[in-house]
């Protein structure tokens, strides 16, 4: 079994254990499927591979755990959507995903508009944004131009100072997991 890791349109060769399987106008980054139990270290190793790749080419990460029999199966699974995936690559090219979560810092309770105000400010500094469901007052992903990441983080810090009633966490950069599928899904 092989694991499907990411979609790319860059044809340049990959370093072992990664291989590139052509599928129409895009390619699939694959690796031998890891048979071991998925633990945190295994996930971070997989993520490292993707993040190294992300620094040198545009990619769309594939949902974790996607496995097929062989290269032919990989091409067959991806090729029908090649056009759509090529368009998605254009949307994310030159950008990374940044995660922001905000919870109440304690007393006093944050006003109802605070998380929304934070989100709107950050959305304005990003190419695209996606709100996620979660236990926090705000859980969002932002697609940020490579060159704008430092500015984005500075904006997060400024917002944290402006909103001491919130506890804000910002992590990244991540491959564009939240922007890989078209929004209409």
């Amino acid at each position: 079994m092989i694991e499907l890791l990411a979609i790319t349109d860059d044809p340049s060769p990959l370093r072992s254990p990664l291989r590139l399987v052509p599928a129409g106008e895009v390619g699939v980054v694959v690796a031998p499927a890891d048979e071991g139990e998925a633990d945190a270290e295994a996930l971070w190793r997989r993520e490292s591979l993707l993040e190294d790749l992300m620094r040198e080419r545009a990619l769309l990460p594939i949902r974790y755990g996607t496995r097929v029999e062989d290269d032919a199966a990989a091409a067959a699974a991806v090729a029908p959507r090649a056009g759509e995936l090529a368009a998605a690559l254009e949307r994310v090219r030159g950008a990374v995903e940044v995660s922001v979560r905000a919870v109440a810092a304690g007393d006093p309770e944050p006003g109802p508009g605070a998380p929304e105000a934070v989100h709107e400010r950050l959305a304005a500094a990003a190419r695209e944004n996606a709100l996620h469901a979660g236990p926090e007052l705000l859980r969002a992903a932002y697609l940020v131009d490579d060159a704008e990441v430092d500015g984005f983080v500075a904006a997060v810090r400024a917002l944290q100072h402006e909103h001491p009633e919130l506890s804000i966490l910002c992590t990244g950069p991540w491959p564009p997991y939240s922007f890989a599928e078209a929004p209409e899904r």
Binding site: A40, L43, R63, G65, T66, V68, E97, L169, W174, E181
Partner: protein
């Protein structure tokens, strides 16, 4: 912020992405009992719809 705590919160963000994000190619589900894989289900095989001819 300790390195361990940072790693943990980052893991939450990573898992959120791995489980809920990314391109969805044909998926597979493994059903297991007592840790023994028994049934392998392909999503593509499962999803089909029944159409009837429109009444005249």
């Amino acid at each position: 912020m300790s390195a361990i705590a940072e790693r943990e919160v980052a893991l939450v963000d990573l898992l959120d992405r791995l489980l809920g994000g990314g391109v969805v190619i044909a998926g597979e589900i493994t059903l297991a009992v007592a840790d023994v894989d028994l049934v392998h289900v392909s999503l593509r095989a499962l999803v089909s719809s029944v159409e009837t001819a429109r009444p005249k």
